[in-house]
């Protein structure tokens, strides 16, 4: 305990260690937040969902904060639902079973560029006759533009851009742009101010009802942007963190601990067991690691847990066994081991209480430094198309970006976001690991 406290105090002296610890703590906090805010099943549901869930998001939109670096501000997505309290909705009986429903969406538009698209999603209940919708677009300077005149089915959608009549009315300009252009202006800049979209809906049956959702698809979205399936990347980036940390930590811990124990057992008992472990290690050293993983992924299972298990299995008999063996051979001959035997310590007690504690100082920095290796491995596998088919991971975001030509289309955010997170992970553990190495192996300090 004292030794532990001392090493913690020593760590404080290395700025890189402090930075590494801060980063790792942030990662852990974010991971916990991700797991609490978006439970596992929910994350998977969101990540595997189609447009049914993500219909409100624009396709391949960069994150909203990119506006900070732009002169012309790109619009963010907005959505208004008449089922919400904030959207005024009035229903008036006008006799003969007819009802007039008025829904008014009011929003403040303070961007210079135009939305990608606008749409109205209707949900109506009727038995014979569909409700009839007429919509009026009111600009900040008071102009009123008729937008839509059509009946709305039980679940129908009206896309502004597909309304060719509206396009003609606007003088051949795409509706999503024309509705925001100031009158008689040459510049291609949207008018800022308060816009209104007023729906006047006639229902023809007494128990008929209607609700409508107005979605304005922006050009930027959220803090992480969206991908080609309208999915919010923040889900994958957030959930990628616990997945990456868990994979890295489990793989590093599993391999290091098992390598250490196997090496200690082999060295202590010696003889044929040691020979077997050594020969096995030598064979394993020449086996190609990645191709085996790819084969497992292709023919057996791409589950992250299977890949983790195979990774650990293949990494146990690594060169580290030889490195640890060299240390153990030395420790084995020390007088305190002889003393332990003389007072009757059992073989296993000697291995676990006398041999292994001796190399813990060498092991801890190594363990910390090796974590990012496995995080990167998981990402590499995902890029090779062998990522877990269910879980959202950073590697899969990169893979999606690559497959969909993100870089050719200038969607840098799509590649950079997961890459930066991967790099930060590597950096944090490397900085901590190198500092730990200096503390536990003071001879390196002078170098």
């Amino acid at each position: 305990m004292i030794a532990f406290r001392n090493s913690m105090r020593d760590l404080g002296r290395y700025p890189s260690a402090v930075a590494g610890i801060v980063l790792i703590v942030v990662f852990i906090v974010v991971s916990i937040y991700a797991m609490v805010a978006v439970p596992y099943s929910e994350a998977i549901r969101l990540w595997r969902a189609d447009e049914g869930v993500w219909y409100k998001n624009p396709i391949s939109a960069p994150p909203a904060w990119t506006n900070l670096f732009r002169d012309q501000k790109l619009p963010e997505s907005m959505a208004f639902d008449s089922r919400d309290e904030s959207v005024p909705k009035t229903v008036m009986d006008i006799g003969k079973g007819l009802q007039e429903t008025v829904i008014t969406y009011t929003f403040d538009y303070s961007f210079d560029s135009f939305p990608k698209e606008m749409a109205l999603y209707f949900k109506s209940a009727y038995s014979q006759k569909q409700p009839y919708v007429s919509a009026l677009w009111i600009t900040p300077d008071g102009r009123e533009i008729r937008v839509m005149d059509a009946s709305a089915g039980s679940s129908s959608t009206y896309y502004f851009s597909q309304d060719s009549k509206l396009e003609r009315r606007l003088g051949g300009i795409k509706p999503a742009e024309g509705l925001f252009l100031p009158p008689e202006s040459d510049s291609h800049v949207a008018q800022r101010g308060e816009y209104q979209l007023r729906l006047t809906i006639l229902t023809f049956e007494p128990d008929s009802a209607i609700d409508a959702e107005f979605v304005l698809y922006g050009q930027v979205h959220g803090w992480a942007g969206t991908d080609h399936l309208r999915r919010d990347l923040s889900v994958a980036l957030l959930w990628g963190m616990p997945v990456a940390l868990a994979f890295g930590l489990l793989a590093a811990l599993g391999t290091t601990a098992l390598t250490m124990i196997i090496s200690a057992v082999g060295t202590w008992f010696g003889g044929w067991l040691d020979e077997l472990i050594q020969r096995f290690t030598e064979i394993n050293l020449v086996l190609p690691f990645l191709p085996i993983l790819i084969m497992v992924g292709t023919f057996y299972s791409r589950s992250i847990w299977v890949i983790l298990g195979v990774t650990i299995l293949l990494s146990i008999f690594s060169g580290q066994i030889k490195a640890y063996r060299a240390i153990f051979l030395q420790v084995k001959e020390t007088p305190y081991i002889e003393a332990a035997r003389s007072y009757g310590a059992s073989q296993w007690r000697i291995i676990f209480r006398y041999l292994i504690p001796r190399i813990i100082p060498v092991l801890i920095p190594q363990l910390v430094t090796i974590i990012p290796t496995f995080v990167f491995l998981e990402a590499s596998l995902a890029v090779l198309g062998l990522g877990d088919p269910v879980l959202p991971t950073w590697g899969k975001v990169i893979d999606d970006a690559r497959v969909n030509g993100a870089l050719f289309q200038g969607q840098y955010y799509w590649v950079l976001e997961p890459s930066v997170l991967l790099m930060l992970t590597g950096l944090a553990f490397a900085m901590l690991g190198f500092s730990l190495d200096r503390i536990f192996n003071p001879r390196l300090r002078g170098l």
Binding site: I2, A3, P335, R341, G344, R349, P357
Partner: protein, 334 residues
């Protein structure tokens, strides 16, 4: 009260014709002979008796000691401790055998695991011997540590070996050897790595413990000058066998075996008269233990060797004086 009256000379350890040979291998499997580290050693050790085993480096002292500690398996010969034959002991009996013998090592720093505190170090034998109660363990640690004069005990409990001086480390080693209340202590050059100023204190401590607990002690050393502090008898070992056995006084005053004489002559005392003189040392080097010389193993270096006898036949133990044995043809009764 049931006081068991002990016989003054109850034999604790009895060794008969003990041999420890290490097999030499060629290419990892072929047989290439034996290193005869211990070759035909016999002696008895009484309860409460102290003996010193003296000899050059490489004469087999350590192999003999490790065999007594059951760390080596003897090639042949018998070792009976407290009436039990070591060869018959297995599992728990072997552990009990080991609990009965304490081990004090040469290098006190190396003998203590550097990652354990003094308390953990002393607790280990207790845990292994099955003392489950934590408080009892602590009590015994306290008791033993005060016996070896590590005062105040509580200051030392949480210390790591590197925080202690050489003398203190050696006291911890002794405490560890004593903590299971052994019948016998095997001390392998316990003071050779200590400062001269601390040596006598450690030897006196061992002596005091020996007297208090009526311990048998096998004191292994190459330094004859420390022997007189301590042991009642001296065994002189040469090339794997004991060449002379006698009471300390008698052996130091009147060494019989030529090797003993040479060894005694070579022992330095800090004396101004010695500054300018060089000691007589036996010529040559200790023999190979793989192919020891035929006959008496000392004969190639012996000034008094009898040609035709010493280089032909191995001498047996002769007893020119009562209780004083020498394996040398010079003392062959007429």
């Amino acid at each position: 009260m049931s006081f068991k009256v002990r016989q003054p000379a109850e034999t604790l350890l009895s060794i008969r014709d003990l041999r420890v040979w290490y097999e030499l291998r060629r290419f990892g499997f072929g047989h290439a002979g034996y290193v005869k580290a211990v070759d035909g050693v016999s002696f008895d050790l009484d309860e409460g008796e102290t003996v010193a085993v003296v000899g050059e480096s490489g004469c087999g002292k350590s192999s003999l000691m490790k065999t007594i500690l059951a760390l080596n398996v003897p090639t042949s010969g018998g070792l009976v401790f407290e009436g039990k034959n070591l060869a018959d002991l297995k599992g728990n009996d072997l552990r009990d055998y080991r609990f009965g013998i304490g081990y004090v090592q040469q290098d006190p720093y190396g003998a203590l695991p550097p990652f354990m505190t003094v308390r953990q170090i002393l607790e280990e034998p207790l845990i292994i011997s099955g003392v489950k109660d934590k408080i009892e363990r602590l009590e015994r640690i306290h008791k033993t540590m005060s016996e070896v004069k590590l005062h105040p005990v509580d200051d030392f409990l949480q210390k790591f070996p590197h925080m202690l001086s050489g003398g203190q480390q050696q006291r911890v080693v002794i405490a560890r050897a004593m903590i299971l209340d052994p019948k016998m202590i095997v001390a392998d050059e316990p003071v050779s790595m200590l400062d001269a100023s601390v040596r006598v204190e450690i030897l006196k401590l061992l002596r005091a413990l020996q007297e208090k607990h009526r311990l048998s002690v096998i004191y292994i050393t190459h330094d004859l000058s420390t022997v007189k502090y301590f042991s009642a008898r001296i065994f002189v070992m040469y090339a794997g066998s004991l060449v002379e056995k006698a009471e300390t006084r008698r052996l130091l005053d009147n060494p019989l075996h030529p090797y003993t004489s040479a060894l005694l002559a070579a022992t330095s005392d800090p004396d101004a008269r010695n500054a300018d003189t060089f000691k007589e040392v036996p010529p040559g080097e200790p023999p190979s233990l793989v192919n020891p010389p035929k006959g008496c193993r000392f004969h190639p270096r012996c000034a008094k060797a009898i040609t035709g006898l010493c280089d032909e036949k191995e001498p047996i133990d002769f007893e020119p004086e009562p209780g004083h044995f020498a394996a040398c043809w010079l003392y062959q009764p007429e």
